[in-house]
Amino acid sequence: MVPLIVICIYLALLLGLGIFASTLFRGSSKDYMLASHSIGPFLLLMSLFGTTMTAFALVGSTGEAYAEGVGVYGLLASSSGIIHSLCFFVLGIKLWSLGKKYGYTTQIQYFRDRLQSDKIGILMFPILVGLVVPYLLIGVMSSGTVVSAVTQGAFRNEFFATHDYGVPPALGSLVISIVVLVYVFFGGMRGTAWANAFQTMVFMVLGIITFWIISSELGGLQAASQAVAEKHPSKLIRDVAQQDLDTYESDLAKWRTLAEYNYAANEAGTLKLTDEQKQEAVGAYKGPKIGNWKARAEATFAAKNNLLNLSTLDKNKAYVMQDDRFMPEEVPSSWSVAILSGEELNHVPRNEAASERAFTDETYSKNIGHPDDDLDPNDPSKGKKWTRKRAEGVYKATKWSPEKPHGMHYLEFISYMFVPLSVGMFPHLFQHWLTAKSASSFKLPVVLHPLFIAIVWIPCVLVGVWATSAMNGPAPMIPPHFNQNAVLSKMVSDMSTPLLSGLLIAGVLAAIMSSLDSQFLCIGTMFTEDIVVHYGGKDRFTDKQVVIIARCFIIAIVAVTYGLSLLEPRSVFSLGVWTFAGFSSMFPLVFASLYWKRLTKPGAYACVISAFAMWCYFFYDSDFAGNTQYTVLHMNPAATMVIGSAIAMVVVSLVTRPPSEEHLKRFFPEKS
């Protein structure tokens, strides 16, 4: 209950801050959306950093480092430190000068004028908003996951039993969305910028405290990293260590024996151990007595005594069934000839919902209950009752095949340099560039942004990597097939006191909310400026009506995002990368609009349409971010999209009529 109280107090504080900022609200839509251009360098730095490096940086980077190892930092953090600031220099200052000259407040206003095309706004608006939605989704989804994880056991009422007696993720997401909406509504851009600065500081300070506590609990920095070097050395490099391959092969062989035994005993009916044999098997078993350990003991016994006599086809069927994968209606003929490799098995779709059998199968479900209750009231040494998440985790860890270790491809690593180009088209940043009070406000963010990234990412990546080898008694703290979005909250709740857990999760929520707020406000501004006022006319709506319309649109987008968050969850890191990749794919357009006089209106359309078409196709092909290993020619899809959209733009521009000299003079003035 303590973490829940801490989180509630933090949310109340935040609401107070938003309401205080609203007392400074001057009532106009310009003040609401742009804080009357009064955002200085510090608030700009905090706002930019808070928006670009948030749920993605904390929850996403920890989870991805747990899955992929330390290479994650090089993929996005160091590249962002270089590219983000480069974009500020190359694009930001030029856009600021044009915003100052011609009074643009949104990127669509700029493109409409630069390309002399009204319809480019109609094309770009849904694409830009559509790309912001997955980014919002990351925040909404993560907030529910972390609140639920850290509050488990907070209630006694059976109503909460299906959520491990904690706050249901859907409710957590809803509350966080509402809190952000309230302070965005009350405070507008000024409230948002203040809340952003406050929350960015909160999550940076608490992040460092989290890191220190976790490393201490793991026996210190050296012991924590040493454990990884001993158990999972691949996590410290970007290749696969021979030791990890050997462990995998050995685990796979054991798992195959279990699968064959279960098939022979339960499906084919060709093997039935006698009671004596079963007793002997259990007596000889030396592994951990958890989950389906009796079946594993019997399988080992059967294999040792050559009792498993299955055909190649039956063995392959056994693996598919044991791994909860869908049996094809027509079994491929190759299955009768050769044993499926681990990789081939992974290509057979898995029934992910099968893990819910942990709630009905007596082997696992008998241990489920309130996490504060003893498993055996007469013998507290047996430990506490399992949460449903833990039962599901044990089910997957003991039933499913081991995960094959994999390295990173050189091309994938190099091509990630294209992903941070997204800042060039991020609506929120674009708006800051166009409307900043002075260009010198950019200096502080340009210099400190790479450092801030390092301060947040390095501890998160280390914690994620340490999580692969952290132990909870004899068992790993994070079992195989664990939801990587929940790695950070699991580490925090297992390794600190309830009070600290609450504080640390408040820090994580701060990071999440500081991302959501600016995006909410930005899409509201875009809708009113680029659609409502642009097509309705400036005099049709009063200032108050404009603010109300912006708020209604924001609520609609939040409702859509919240609805999407209730669907099957996705990896935070993958979703973030897809959003960034989408914005990156339109980078050639903004760059050409500032530096290439030959850019034409049809060329711009070709760029946007080809970028969007490629994004949709690749996103669909990756199972809507479900395939976290998805690459195109071993590269991140962003590389293909940026190059593809640039080629489309250049070719179409060159074969169409260039803009008039008079028009170009407005954007490319001759140097005096």
């Binding site: 090089g74 600031s85 100052k100 990293s225 490099i237 010198s440 340009v446 942004h449 790479p450």
Partner: protein, 74 residues
């Protein structure tokens, strides 16, 4: 000096591709994976290079011109 700054930016981009540390699992100071230390160094290097950029490559002419124009217009 302006060109030197841009050369440093290019150098950072090249140094970020630390393919030479691909399978090096050395723990520096007993806890820091060498590739993470290298990439962290790139972040610090980036902050230094961008600091130099704000001094030597800041487009003062463009900014002054725009500010003058906007003052004249207001």
């Amino acid at each position: 000096m302006r060109y030197m700054v841009w050369l440093l930016v290019v150098a950072l981009i090249i140094l970020r591709q630390d393919l030479w540390l691909w399978d090096n699992g050395t723990l520096v100071f007993g806890f820091m994976p060498i590739t993470l230390l290298w990439q962290g160094g790139i972040s610090i290097g980036a902050a230094c290079v961008w600091f130099l950029a704000t001094i030597f490559a800041w487009p003062t002419d463009l900014i002054e011109e725009v500010e003058k124009q906007s003052e004249g217009g207001e």
